[in-house]
């Protein structure tokens, strides 16, 4: 039967049909028997210069940045590598993340990877390196990047046990990120309190309330209560996380 200007399948010689069927089955079988592709952590090379990549992007740096991000992600998230992030050369990872941010400065993905993924490895030096990377990148666009530094402050305090480092990050957010959420901008007060620097925390909290930056009644009430507690010179025994009002 003719359909759409084509001849019937019977017009095709049997040996051609047989060859097609056999070749197709052989191709599918061959490919099915191949082991799945497996990325090796040591295969991660150094990135090219951002200027060169920008040229190679042919006017589409954002698309190239996104492609490079996914490519980088593929290196650390493969089957067959039991602790993939630890196997990576973090100097190169930060170089890649920095390059991607150069290509697409508005993108948040590289900072998410740095603070939420690469900083989670059970290796203090690598955690510190990633937090330092986020801190460095924060300065370039504080109002967009504060949430990743806030996460690093929590990593510094709870994972690294380095409250001074956490304080420096919280301080940077308070000073640099005017558009950050209040909970992030108030973080340094509670870290100071944990450090035992009650006087400084009291001054900061009083200043914050006096500045009028906090407008939510419940939040004002909560902070006022905290101020009273601080003034009573009794350091709260409740954990830091429970003191934070919801953002």
């Amino acid at each position: 039967m003719k359909t759409g200007g084509e001849r019937v399948i019977a017009a095709v010689p049997r040996w051609v049909l047989l060859l097609l069927a056999v070749a197709f089955c052989a191709q599918v079988t061959w490919q099915a028997l191949q082991p799945p592709p497996n990325a090796r952590a040591e295969a991660l090379g150094a990135p090219a210069e951002p200027a060169l990549l920008r040229t190679l992007a042919l006017g589409e740096p954002i698309a190239l940045a996104q492609l490079l991000t996914l490519n980088l992600q593929a290196f650390d998230n493969q089957p067959g590598v039991s602790v993939p992030f630890l196997d990576l050369d973090y100097a190169r990872v930060t170089a890649w993340l920095g390059t991607i941010l150069e290509l697409d400065p508005v993108g948040q993905y590289p900072l998410l990877m740095a603070s939420q993924i690469y900083a989670q490895v059970p290796d203090e030096a690598k955690q510190r390196r990633m937090c330092a990377f986020v801190r460095e990148q924060f300065d370039r666009d504080p109002d967009r990047r504060w949430r990743w530094l806030a996460h690093c402050a929590i990593v510094a305090k709870h994972r690294l046990g380095d409250t001074r480092l956490a304080l420096s990050y919280a301080d940077a957010i308070t000073r640099g990120a005017r558009l950050a959420s209040n909970w992030a901008r108030q973080m340094r007060i509670f870290i100071l309190e944990d450090l035992g620097e009650l006087e400084a925390a009291t001054v900061l909290l009083g200043g914050l309330l006096a500045s009028g930056e906090v407008t939510e009644p419940k939040e004002i009430h909560f902070l006022t209560e905290r101020l009273k507690e601080l003034k009573a010179a009794g350091k709260s025994s409740s954990p830091l996380e429970n003191r934070h009002p919801k953002p």
């Binding site: 003719k2 084509e6 019937v8 060859l19 061959w30 592709p37 996914l70 992600q73 593929a74 998230n77």
Partner: protein, 256 residues
Amino acid sequence: MDSRIAAIARYTLLEALRTRLPVLVLITLLVMLATSFFIETISVTEGARFQAGFYAASMRIASVFIAAVYVLVSVTREFNDKGLDVLLALDLPRSHYVLGKLAGFLAIAVLIAAAASLPLAGLSASPAVLQWAASLAAELAIVVAFALFCVITFNQLTAAASFVLAFYVLGRALTAIRLMSAHPLSGADTFSHQVIQFMVDALALVMPALDAWTQTAWLVNQQAPWMAMLELAGQSALYVALLAAATMFDFYRKNF
């Protein structure tokens, strides 16, 4: 080989010679070689490595482009000149035409690969260059077979060229796509991701992962194991046979 298939293959080769394809390949080769010398002069260290790496990667792409476009344009011209109608009016099975054209194009692919690899003889070790040349010939064989399949199936240059380009880019990126889709950071359980992963896996069954062919690393780092080369040759032969069968199937079903 049937004498009629051999004759068509011979005339396909002759056509390539008379349409100045060798000159185009030679000019491309010289341009790439000259650029690689420039790269070598501006590199502070590993000059030969830079030169070989640049030349191999760029000549590979250029060879694929030239071979694919040549097949597409050659067969399209034959359609437009009605030369095919004349051939079909003769006592010539359609399979002979396809096999003859394919044999001619495969010979052209081998010649392009041989020419492209000649300058590398002075830049890398001989076994590595031999592997690179053989692999490029196999890669070009797949590309010309796919181009022939597309142009016969679609009858239109634009559609066929688009498909060849998409096939090649997808083939080169297939392994990376599989790696990225196999284990996403989030959303692995969602229905959409499972559908996409199924499609990618299905695609991997019917497409060669062309990133495994003609690797520059063989020239500048370490040559490939010969077993891997045999495997590539087997995969290439199988895929060319599949494409030849698919082309003949489509060609037999066409009404002219």
